[in-house]
């Protein structure tokens, strides 16, 4: 059963094509990795999936429903959670309040009903010591963790992670990967854009390669990494 289906998605910004006939599907509980050079249109693809940017043509189906024209808020309510590449915390709210907002609005319940779950997510993501600190005062790692924690608080069925391991140290990266694996193990489908390939490949079941807005390969990580196009375009290795 497909949780997300993209069918011929196109998007141009003036003369620049950022999405060119993109079609792929993600199954329930699957983890898909997306790689591609800078400017390949990876983050734009996320914005198209979540509705922050409107598509020019093509259709997006999420959990069996056409959401092509649905605003981001409604897509969140139907089970889509996302993190931003550049963390976007609610800076003047505390870490706990950041999660409360996401929990209460994202799952359409009262604050009191989601408070315990939000506290548990803070424990799981290692942010519990910072619960009552203003989100604006967090370090980069903590901000990335907060992005993840806040997305989880909306109780997503599909989690979109945008370069969440970038800029982290080796140790920080390992603990983040462990957290993501645990989330995936609970049956949440994941689409993860990442440049840190060893982190990505230790979680995802399939890889998708994006280049100038086109899908140039999708399949098992080892097959993709071995393919000629990917080695040339992405790894810059002459074959």
């Amino acid at each position: 059963m497909e949780i997300l289906e993209l069918d011929g998605i196109c998007k141009t910004f003036g003369a620049l094509t950022v999405a060119d006939q993109i079609s792929f599907a993600v199954s329930e509980g699957e983890a898909l990795g997306i790689i591609g050079p800078n400017g390949a249109g990876k983050s734009t693809l996320f914005n198209l999936i979540t509705g922050n940017i409107a598509t020019d043509s093509g259709a997006i189906r999420f959990r069996g429903r056409d959401v092509t024209r649905t605003p981001p808020m409604a897509r969140c309510l139907s089970g889509m959670g996302r993190t931003f590449q550049i963390p976007q915390p609610f800076e003047k709210l505390t870490v706990f309040e950041n999660l409360l907002v996401a929990g209460a609005f994202g799952s359409e319940r009262g604050e009191a009903d989601v408070a315990d779950r939000c506290a548990e997510i803070l424990v799981d993501t290692g942010l519990i010591d910072k619960a009552n600190v203003l989100a604006g005062s967090l370090s980069l790692l903590e901000r990335k963790r907060l992005e993840l924690a806040r997305a989880l608080a909306t109780e997503p069925k599909l989690l979109l992670l945008d370069e969440i391991a970038g800029g982290l140290t080796e140790g920080e990266c390992r603990s983040l990967v462990a957290t993501i694996r645990a989330i995936h193990a609970r049956g949440v489908a994941v689409i993860w854009i990442e440049h840190v390939l060893h982190a990505l490949n230790s979680v995802v079941e399939r890889l998708l390669v994006l280049h100038f807005g086109k899908v140039i390969g999708i399949g098992k990580p080892e097959e993709i990494m071995a393919s000629r196009d990917v080695r040339e375009i992405y790894l810059g290795i002459e074959v």
Binding site: N52, Q88, P89, F90, L100, V101, A104, N132, L134, A151
Partner: protein, 361 residues
């Protein structure tokens, strides 16, 4: 492994806020008794302070919580005032129900206004609201039945025979003018309590949390399921209602209205912004402190003519440079004291200690 932790709890109360609640009740009791204790001119000063406080709380809700920087709130003061005069002078409605009707008229005006201005962002929104205010002022200046450009006065009987005035004359032996001053003062006091009570409740509710999220980062707020547009529109319409009611009350007390005074950007928006900025934007305490400072400055500088406005401007700039979150923000950051706490603090669980957070804003 399971840790034997106490369950998590969420708290917003602080010790200072509980002490403050008791002090606030005392102040309110004295404030309600004021017409029996102090002179009529003091009651009129207090009326001015209270109505400016209502306007400031509303502007603070708009700008400090919904991120809607409007310089056109005078449109609702003026429109509320004119709606009251229309109801009382032309339709013969008693002033008390007319005040509420004026609020509804303001909401009716706010709906098409929002339709235009909500298409604009940031500074463009600010200019847009001002343009709308000027358009409404020019339109009302054409209304001959209410005096056109020169304005008009309320008929004397209207305030003398107002609901409640007779009762107060019988009960307290007040003269008609004194009774109507006391009545408008009490109405302003009730309006202040209702406004602050409403804003405080809103900020402590789920909607208030969503509003703070929208203010901090609209894109992220939408991504976690907050309907940012609906939330802003709700705040805009609510403040239009309260501002309209305040405008009607102000012009009921003045008993004379003209387009230039009723739609004055200086009186009803610039002063209000000054109050919020020096007091502390994004806090309920800020406008309360701000309005007191503003009144003191006005009293002290009253004899200096245009120097008065220059001084206000200078003080505004100094506060913005050295205390960007206003004087209350400065005080609250240093002491951690909040009189209207809205911060949700997580207690219990593996949290050995709780960390102090500043107020919203």
């Amino acid at each position: 492994m399971t840790l034997a932790n106490p369950p998590f709890t969420v708290e917003t109360r602080t010790r200072a806020s509980q002490l403050f609640a008791i002090a606030a009740i005392l102040v309110l009791v004295i404030a309600f008794a004021a017409p029996f204790i102090v002179s009529r001119s003091i009651i009129q000063d207090l009326f001015f302070i209270l109505t400016m406080l209502v306007l400031a709380q509303n502007w603070n809700l708009l700008a400090g919580y919904a991120g809607l920087i409007s310089v056109g709130q005078q449109v609702f003061v003026g429109f509320g005032g004119y709606a009251l005069f229309g109801c009382v002078s032309l339709l013969g409605i008693d002033p008390l129900p007319a005040i509420l009707i004026a609020g509804l008229f303001s909401v009716a005006l706010a709906i098409p206004t929002a339709f235009f201005t909500f298409r604009l962002y940031g500074p463009y929104f600010a200019i847009g609201t001002w343009v709308v205010a000027e358009v409404v002022r020019l339109l009302l200046a054409q209304w001959k039945a209410l005096g056109g450009g020169t304005g008009t006065s309320l008929p004397r009987e209207a305030t003398r025979d107002m609901m409640g005035v007779d009762l107060m004359r019988d009960l307290f032996g007040m003269k008609a003018a004194q009774a109507s001053d006391a009545l408008t003062y009490w109405l302003a006091l009730i309006l202040v309590i209702a406004t602050i009570g409403f804003i405080y409740r809103l900020l402590r509710s789920k909607q208030g949390l969503g509003l703070a999220a929208v203010r901090d980062n609209e894109q992220a707020a939408r991504a976690v399921g907050v309907d940012a547009r609906r939330m802003k529109a709700m705040v805009y319409l609510t403040t239009a209602f309260i501002t309209g009611v305040a405008g009607a009350l102000i012009y009921l007390q003045k008993a004379r209205i003209s387009p230039d005074a009723a739609f004055s950007v200086v009186d009803w928006t610039a002063y209000v912004i000054f109050i919020v900025v020096i007091g502390g934007i994004g806090t309920i305490e800020g406008p309360i402190l701000g309005v007191i400072l503003f009144f003191l400055l006005q009293t002290i500088l009253a004899d200096y003519g245009s120097w008065y406005l220059l001084m206000l401007g200078l003080i505004g700039i100094v506060v913005m440079l050295f205390a960007p979150r206003g004087l209350w923000g400065l005080f609250s950051d240093r002491t951690g004291i909040q009189l209207f706490p809205v911060r949700r603090r997580l207690k219990g669980g593996p949290l050995g200690h709780s960390i102090k957070g500043g107020p919203h804003g």
